[in-house]
């Protein structure tokens, strides 16, 4: 199993042009993703945004709430009409007080294929092996409460046992 990339496929029951717009119109992208960008996407150009809770899903919006207002940067890579949209970013680049600018980014690619009136969307994110391991570890530590969470549970258990 690769530890450098992931790939996802999703069949969307709408024409390719509709998917293309949802991906490359920065306002629409931000709408489902949960970011407000300062302008349009342009190939080879960085673009900043701030995280906002998504308007599409109330539950997801709740989990995004703690990150509301955090700055976020994409570097748009390629925009090949209705076929390929790609950008780079710092995965989980949301921790306070950390300068990510010196760290490598991962590449996210959206590839669109027509399937009659529907669209097969393939997304890959690659380059994880370049990301420092301790940084990768933080990503899920945040969710699991990390070692601190484990220790708290141990302490709680010991407290009850004594």
């Amino acid at each position: 199993m690769s530890t450098d990339r992931i790939e996802k496929k999703i069949l969307l029951r709408v024409p390719r042009s509709r998917v293309w717009r949802a991906l490359t119109d920065s306002a629409e992208f931000g709408h489902w993703f949960g970011v407000r960008f300062e302008g349009p996407f342009q190939p080879g150009t960085p673009i900043s945004g701030i995280m906002v809770p998504t308007a599409v899903d109330a539950e997801a919006a709740k989990s995004q709430k703690p990150f509301e207002g955090k700055p976020f940067e994409f570097v748009i890579d390629r925009i090949e009409p209705e076929r390929l949209f790609s950008f780079k970013w710092h995965p989980f680049g949301v921790e306070e007080g950390i300068d990510y600018s010196a760290e490598p980014m991962t590449l996210i690619e959206f590839v669109l294929e027509e399937r009659g009136a529907e669209t097969m969307l393939t997304i890959t994110e690659s380059g994880f092996e370049q990301i420092p391991l301790y940084r990768r570890a933080r990503a899920f530590q945040a969710n699991e409460g990390g070692w601190t969470g484990v220790l708290r549970r141990i302490a709680k258990h010991l407290g009850h046992a004594s």
Binding site: T3, V19, A22, W32, D57, L133, R136, F140, W147, T148
Partner: protein, 114 residues
């Protein structure tokens, strides 16, 4: 029922880990490193009633149990938690993958229902 060999082996393997964690000072060190590492010994000693030498000894016990490791920055030794390399890499991808699943579901909701 046959005993679960793998589970037994895992438990035996975990004994040094629990021994290492079975000490308040060491638990506190692990908690401190997990909250924000890596740290130098000097920094780990700040605000602690324990001497630098004692902290160093505790760090080596944790290191022997595979919980922490140190790296060098110039003349300074920095200590940090030791994540299992492969486990970390796989868990990270699982988390990334889960996030894309939820994002793509939102994308689907947007394009298919509007």
């Amino acid at each position: 029922m046959r005993p679960n060999r793998a589970a037994e082996t895992n438990l035996r393997g975990a004994a040094p880990l629990f021994a290492a964690l079975g000490d308040q000072t060491r638990l506190a060190l692990v908690a401190r490193l997990s909250a924000g590492g890596p740290h130098s010994i000097a920094r780990l000693t700040v605000g602690s009633a324990i001497t630098r030498q004692a902290i160093t000894k505790h760090l080596h016990v944790l290191s022997a149990a595979g919980l922490v490791r140190h790296t060098r920055r110039g003349r300074e030794q920095l200590w940090q938690l030791e994540p299992g390399r492969l486990e970390t890499a796989h868990k990270f991808l699982a988390e990334i993958s889960r996030q894309w699943d939820t994002r793509l579901t939102r994308l689907r909701n947007l394009v298919e229902n509007s």
